[in-house]
């Protein structure tokens, strides 16, 4: 049942899309800011995983945590040194800031790691499960399940914890939040850390099954844009569903039209979305 396999594969990858896109939509909803370097955060997460395996011989838990942590720190640093200052400025400055950052990160990665595609040499998770005739490689399965769990965890963090409600309060009404004693600056830095961290760990999960090079950041970034638009402005649950849908559409496109077309279809879908339903699944018209 090749089609069923394609569908499952697409959903598993889509879960990872959901994970890194939820961070992007969180920032967007909270600060009305689109991070053009978000794909590079994912790409860096993949390289962190590589370094942990190659230098430290770490397993999935180690490199997953390392990627999350390293990118969390990067996210906070980027917010404090750059984003905080351009947020209140002209649109040109806002867009150029992360667009420039994307170039900086991407080409620095090219310089350090070269343009060659690499894979993660890891042995602990291997093999393939056969469930009702559908073959699922263990790394992909674990990655997909972990991604969905983490996305859901992020959603719970935002909706069920105090910190989460503080983040949402700042998103809703910055001034009112300040009056309640919440520090918007601190919350926004935290949001950037969470967004970058989830992108990083998504990268590490993806590294378990797919080869990559510094160029993948551009594609992931664009994929994230499509997912957050489909999901709806600022909606993490929306990003979750949209990620799965996009992963599915991508897999089916590759299956029906050929691997070259998987991105073309997704980007074309983006344009169609902008024409027909820009608010996406969960957004308001």
């Amino acid at each position: 049942m090749l089609l069923a396999q394609v569908i499952v594969g697409g959903l598993l990858l889509g879960a990872i899309y959901a994970l890194f896109s939820s961070g992007l939509t969180l920032i967007w909803g909270m600060m009305n800011f689109i991070n053009f370097a978000h794909g590079e955060f994912v790409m860096l997460g993949m390289y962190v995983a590589l370094l942990v395996v190659v230098w430290l011989g770490g397993g999935p838990a180690a490199f997953g945590f390392a990627a999350a942590f390293a990118l969390f720190v990067l996210g906070v640093v980027v917010y404090l040194s750059l984003i905080r200052h351009v947020m209140r400025g002209p649109m040109l400055a806002q867009i150029l800031s992360t667009f420039g950052l994307a170039l900086l990160l991407r080409y620095t990665a090219f310089w350090i790691f070269s343009a060659n595609f690499v894979s993660l040499p890891q042995v602990s998770l291997s093999g393939t499960l056969n469930v009702a005739g559908i073959l699922m490689p263990v790394p992909q399965l674990v990655a997909g399940v972990a991604a969905i769990a983490l996305t859901f965890a992020l959603h719970l963090l935002l909706t069920r914890t105090t910190v989460g409600s503080q983040l949402l309060a700042v998103a809703e009404d910055r001034n009112a939040a300040m009056l309640m004693g919440i520090r918007p600056d601190r919350m926004q830095a935290l949001a950037w850390g969470l967004a970058a961290g989830s992108a990083g760990i998504a990268g590490a999960l993806m590294a378990m099954s797919y080869p990559w090079s510094p160029s993948v950041g551009e594609t992931f970034g664009l994929t994230a844009f499509v997912v957050v638009t489909l999901g709806g402005f600022g909606s993490v649950p929306g990003a979750m569903y949209a990620g799965l849908i996009i992963g599915l559409i991508q897999a089916l496109s590759a299956y029906w039209f050929g691997p070259i077309y998987k991105d073309i279809v997704v980007y074309a879908l983006f344009v169609a979305l902008l024409w027909l339903r820009p608010q996406g699944l969960m957004g308001k018209a």
Binding site: L96, S97, F99, L101, L103, W111, V226, D263, I264, V271
Partner: protein
């Protein structure tokens, strides 16, 4: 600065005779091309404040159509220029119409997505050369093929086009359309409340910008005689336009010119220092410059000069 403009014009006009030889003429042509495409971007990105990071879509279309007309029908590449413009205008509508009624980010995201979409698609389409690309006539069949051995004729053709672009921008600046563009950039909500037809104005700006960017692409492919998906639609083409305009001063008439004046020699120098494989280092530098601009001086050199010049004048008077 009454003497400024004639002096600049004279300098540009006589440059090939001041600094002679293919090396300097090559830089001159590169400078003009960068200035033309950045000035084209400036109309929608600088004046109207609608930041396109996928302008290569127009450049690439303009670059492909002349060589396509030659490749398919043996026509002189120049014949393909109007077609490139028409397709670019159509693209502008496809991208601008849905996004200009939404918040600004959608437009920026859409530009980069569409540019990428076209780049990948063209790379798979055999009719337009797929990944290999297209070539122009190796040897001209007549003057109309515009295949000159020397850089000099190209220099003057490009200079003429730059003059047209700058003059058009100048006229736009002084017109109602230009005031409306600046109002939209300065405050869309307030502009609306004053009766500015925001969506329509943005679309017009994008279409005008697309027209000139397409023209720039055509000039490029006619001159180099070659185009492929990366050199036409690649993200670095978009980056180049943005950084040249932003460094010099987005929204200022001569901003792109100043930006090109700084970046083209710089790029020539870094390519020499860092070598071929080091072109990655050039883009690390570009990324760094863009981030610094965004953080400290989004208005570019133009804004910086406007802040610094009065202080210098004051010091001169005090001395």
């Amino acid at each position: 600065m009454k003497w400024g403009l004639p002096a600049l014009a004279a300098l540009l006009l006589f440059y090939p005779f001041i600094l002679t030889g293919p090396f300097y003429w090559d830089i001159g042509v590169a400078f003009l091309l960068a200035a033309i495409s950045a000035s084209a971007w400036n109309i929608v990105g600088g004046y109207a404040g609608q930041v396109s990071v996928g302008h290569s879509m127009f450049f690439g279309v303009g670059a492909y159509t002349p060589l396509l007309f030659y490749h398919l029908w043996g026509l002189p590449p120049v014949a393909g220029v109007p077609a490139g413009i028409l397709v670019s205008l159509g693209l502008a509508l496809v991208v601008g119409m849905p996004t200009f009624r939404l918040q600004g980010h959608y437009f920026s995201m859409a530009t980069i997505a569409v540019a990428e979409l076209i780049r990948i698609f063209v790379g798979t389409w055999d009719l337009v050369g797929a990944a290999i690309g297209l070539q122009g006539p190796a040897v001209g069949r007549g003057w109309w093929d515009l295949t000159f051995r020397s850089e000099l004729p190209y220099y003057y053709i490009f200079l003429a086009v730059l003059a047209v672009v700058l003059y058009t921008t100048f006229e736009v600046e002084r017109s109602r359309f230009g005031y409306y563009l600046r109002a939209i950039k300065a405050g869309e909500r307030a502009a609306r409340s004053l009766g500015v037809p925001v969506r329509e104005t943005k679309l017009k700006a994008l279409m005008l910008s697309a027209l000139f960017t397409s023209l720039a692409g055509s000039l490029y492919s006619i001159k180099t005689g070659f185009i492929d998906p990366e050199s036409g639609f690649g993200i670095l083409v978009s980056v180049q336009m943005v950084i040249v305009a932003a460094l010099g001063g987005a929204g200022a008439l001569f901003g792109p010119l100043v930006g090109a004046l700084i970046l083209v020699p710089l790029q020539t120098a870094t390519n020499t220092w860092f070598g071929g494989g080091g072109s990655g280092l050039t883009y690390i530098l570009y990324g760094g410059i863009i981030v610094l601009l965004a953080r400290f001086e989004p208005g570019g050199m133009h804004e910086w000069w406007q802040r610094v010049a009065p202080l210098l004048a004051r010091r001169k008077h005090a001395a």
